[in-house]
């Protein structure tokens, strides 16, 4: 445990010193992974389905605020959908705007959750995001998880039904009726509804339990959050007649709990004070201060050197005493 704490302190120290660069690199990788996934699954527009473009946009992401990255990724996805079908792009664009209306007003600080939710769905551990946001965010964070979930299910539907969607656009006679088909397909998924409700319940339940003034509230919150997650999915599956692997839900929840425990170890109750570069002045001086946080747990810097241990010498010492 001490080794883990020392590792955490070293990591904190490293992060606080190189925060600016680390955040830029992380943003770059978040943008790169998201764009590569979009290109791999929806690469309908050949102009942007290009490694160089992805690299340039990812580099751009490393300097942009997270909310702009979300907009950029949404625009990237929308361009691919537009190349497939104008009608589909119109509906997806409408849904994106409605989601942004909710997201930007209520939880604009959870941009990472919006991007990570679809990625976690692909990794089959979608429960990580609501469980982590339950103790790191606010009840309004359920909006950002919901937006990520809807985006994933819409884009997944387009990927799976690309041929039918493309044929709708070519057939002018059925163009009017195509919207019904598209809206039903994109937004009519009971599975999507089940996940949105479950995640909202998990985020709110975990937040409320975590806020209780009792010992280990966040651990209790996580445990109950996992149970609530499984229960709501089970009840929802029977109520909405959704076919889901119960074993998959249990394993996914268990893996998510483990990941959230690791996240909690590194994030919860840690003073992530960082290097501050600030400037100010008073009547006499201009100050250019660089404040570097102190480490609270010293990393052991042990260097054991054998000096030729001699038992006779010890006996001699005892004799003199």
């Amino acid at each position: 445990m001490t080794n883990l704490l020392v590792f955490k302190e070293q990591l904190t120290g490293f992060f606080s010193r190189f925060e600016t660069y680390i955040i830029a690199v992380l943003k770059f990788f978040v943008g790169l992974i998201a764009l590569l996934i979009i290109n791999a699954n929806l690469g309908y527009m050949s102009k942007i389905n290009n490694g160089a473009i992805v690299l340039i946009v990812s580099l751009l992401c490393s300097f942009l605020p997270m909310n702009l990255i979300v907009l950029l990724i949404a625009a990237f996805a929308l361009l691919h959908v537009y190349a497939l079908s104008l009608e589909c792009a119109l509906i997806v664009g409408f849904v994106f705007v409605i989601m942004f209306v909710l997201y930007f007003r209520f939880s604009p600080g959870d941009a990472v959750a919006v991007i990570l939710t679809p990625i976690c769905f692909m990794l089959r551990i979608p429960y990580v995001v609501p469980m982590a946001l339950g103790f790191m965010g606010t009840p309004m964070s359920c909006m950002s998880v919901g937006c990520g979930t809807v985006a994933y299910f819409m884009l997944n539907y387009i990927k799976e039904n690309a041929d039918q969607i493309a044929s709708l656009s070519t057939d002018a006679e059925s163009a009017l009726g195509s919207f019904k088909y598209l809206i039903d397909g994109l937004l009519g998924s009971d599975r999507m509804l089940l996940f949105v409700i479950t995640f909202a319940v998990v985020v709110i339940a975990e937040f409320m339990i975590k806020s209780l003034p009792v010992d280990y509230s966040w651990k209790i919150g996580l445990g109950l959050g996992a149970i609530v997650n499984i229960l709501v999915i089970l009840i929802g599956c029977s109520a909405l007649e959704v076919d889901m692997s119960i074993g998959g839900v249990f394993v996914g929840t268990l893996v998510s709990v483990l990941i959230v425990l690791i996240i909690q170890f590194f994030v919860f109750n840690v003073d992530y004070s960082r290097t501050e570069n600030v400037q100010f002045e008073d009547d006499e001086y201009y100050y250019y201060v660089k404040a570097i946080p102190k480490m609270s747990v010293e990393a052991p810097d042990v260097n054991v050197t054998r000096m030729g241990y001699d038992e006779d010498a010890v006996e001699d010492l005892q004799y003199f005493e």
Binding site: L102, R105, F106, F179, K180, I183, E276, F280, V289, A291
Partner: protein, 129 residues
């Protein structure tokens, strides 16, 4: 001569001003009622845009039927139905906005209280010199 305690306090304050403080100070410039009203008004605009897109999708959903029945339908009844739904959505959205922004105002106020006490402490330090 440099006063280390004062520099430490000023560094903490400057760090706060450059991050969270920027937002808190802009919130604190308003009275509570003004801030919440302004944000609720902004939310009403956002909600109207979202609802308009929702209505557009509703019409697109059955565009063929809508165009066929357009001349037969009672436009006033149709508009009344839309207006009722808009009112319900708007009330829910604005209530949520009210609670969220009231909470944000009280949080900013709490941070600013600490910041003002630090300012007073700094002022006292200058007086002592």
């Amino acid at each position: 001569m440099l006063n280390e305690d004062r520099i430490e306090l000023m560094t903490k304050m400057a760090a706060y001003e450059s991050r969270q403080g920027r937002r808190d100070i802009s919130v604190h410039e308003f009275f509570r009622g003004d801030y919440i009203s302004f944000q609720v008004l902004k939310s009403a605009l956002y909600c109207t845009v979202g609802f308009a897109l929702g209505v557009a999708m509703y019409i697109l959903y059955d565009l063929e039927g809508f165009l066929t029945d357009f001349y037969k339908m009672d436009v006033v009844e149709f508009a009344k139905g839309i207006a009722t739904k808009y009112a319900v959505v708007l009330v829910i959205y604005l209530l949520a906005s009210y609670f969220v922004y009231a909470y944000r105002y009280s949080r900013a106020k709490k941070h600013m209280k600490k910041y003002v006490s630090q300012l007073n402490e700094l002022d006292t330090m200058y007086d002592w010199e």
